[in-house]
Amino acid sequence: MDSSHPAGVRVTTGSEASAITTYFAALGAAFDRASAQHQQTALFSVGGQRWLVRHAGRQWGTRYLRAITHLRLPASDPIEPDLTIDIWDQAETGQPLPRPVWDWGRRLPHSYHSEFSADRCAALVYTGLYVLVDRAARHAWVWHPDGMSLPQWDFAAPLRDLIELWFKPSALIRVHAGAVATDGGGCLIVGASGSGKSTTTIACLRAGLRYLGDDYVLIDPEQQRIYSLYNSGKLTPDTLTHFPEFAPHVSNHDSIAEFKAILYFDTLFPDQMVVSAPLKAIFIPTVTHQPETQIAPVSAMTALQALAPSTLFQASDPSAADFGKISRMVRGAGAHRLLAGTDFDHLTAQVKEHLRHG
């Protein structure tokens, strides 16, 4: 292998490289055809960057981007976007993706990846979603044969693979955590499924804290900053009983048992959606079944153990560099066990107080 190429990058012959260049050029033409009848454009703030998203058609793109609407920027923003993303599906627009001209390089647990150069790569996610990235052109394409058939969790957390691919060379990383904030700063709420992560995060939202997400957020370990990705939240049927006022707003009544109850909080709590917050603390909830909540400091290793495995095993292509980002982040933030009581007023007051005064 040519040592001038980063690890994992396929070294292509001249004719293959030419075919890839031709292929990426054809993507633009394909999207132009898909969006000839109807195109919607919106600007979003993602991880401190400006992302211009253009989607063809009226249905799938609108629904697919529902969970990031709280990140929208004014359309008149004159600054050049950091990334332009073109999204379409064949079922709605009739426009296929140009047929791939490569053999998929690596089969990963949740996707196939091919890296054609340091700038260009493609991923085929297990759901059938294609993601293609041209870093030099700051352009990405997302395509699905029938977008409305994607599983519910894809609508609750769209563009996950693109977010992972795009931010991989940067300081940022998508982590598996909830996050809320006050004027005093923000916190990550981390833990495995069933640990009380979503219940704690959503209880804090209901109590007036600002919301950055309940399942995935971006973090910048250099700046110790949390960036929101999704305004959605997921609750199991059992935990939904703690929030009866949310029941009428569940977006997927017929699939709660399969996918959990999915809620979009930007319409319920529009003033509490925030794009980013400084990271002040990491909480690891443990349900105690006692009325009151207590907060006890724990080691950075405890936080790393609660956050890193679930984050990395959910990533498409986790690496030692990703682990390093998470490790740097937990070293710089105070980690605490949140001995979560059954009195949600007391629990959320404790979190608020900690963020206010530490």
Partner: protein, 134 residues
């Protein structure tokens, strides 16, 4: 025999004297503290088990050698380390300052299923997906 970390499938970090190790291939992760974390650090830095045992001399030498052999065998069985006869440690190994206890590997399997959840599509010769069951 010397060993190295079984990268890129295995990634690890040490914080405050505790080690966390993640096997991205198997879905398992591990922790060690105290003597176990110290031995892990020494092993993946390229020190051979005999040299490591010598630095744990405060304890019974035969017991230490037996414990280390079992520990290395477990790390190998979990595919966390692999043999690397060319490893040469960058720094001399200091004597272990703590109280000796047989190194223990804590194994966590609760995330294994996360690697098995998704019915990934297979790709035909032309690069188009079809469900794995087809």
């Amino acid at each position: 025999m010397t060993y190295c970390i079984n990268s890129p499938a295995v990634i690890a970090d040490i914080l405050d004297g505790e080690a966390i190790i993640i096997n991205l291939k198997s879905g398992r992760y591990y922790s060690m503290d105290g003597c176990g974390a110290w031995v892990w650090s020494a092993l993946i830095a390229g020190h051979d088990p005999e040299a490591i045992a010598a630095q744990l001399a405060a304890a019974d030498a035969a017991t230490v050698r037996r414990d280390l052999a079992a520990f290395v065998a477990q790390l190998s069985a979990e595919e966390l380390i692999r043999e690397d006869g060319t490893a040469s440690p960058a720094a001399p190994l200091p004597e272990y300052a703590g109280t000796y206890a047989a190194p223990t590997l804590n194994v966590f399997t609760d995330m294994e299923s996360m690697l098995l959840l998704d019915p990934i599509h297979k790709v035909d010769d032309a690069g188009w997906p079809h469900p794995a069951a087809e």
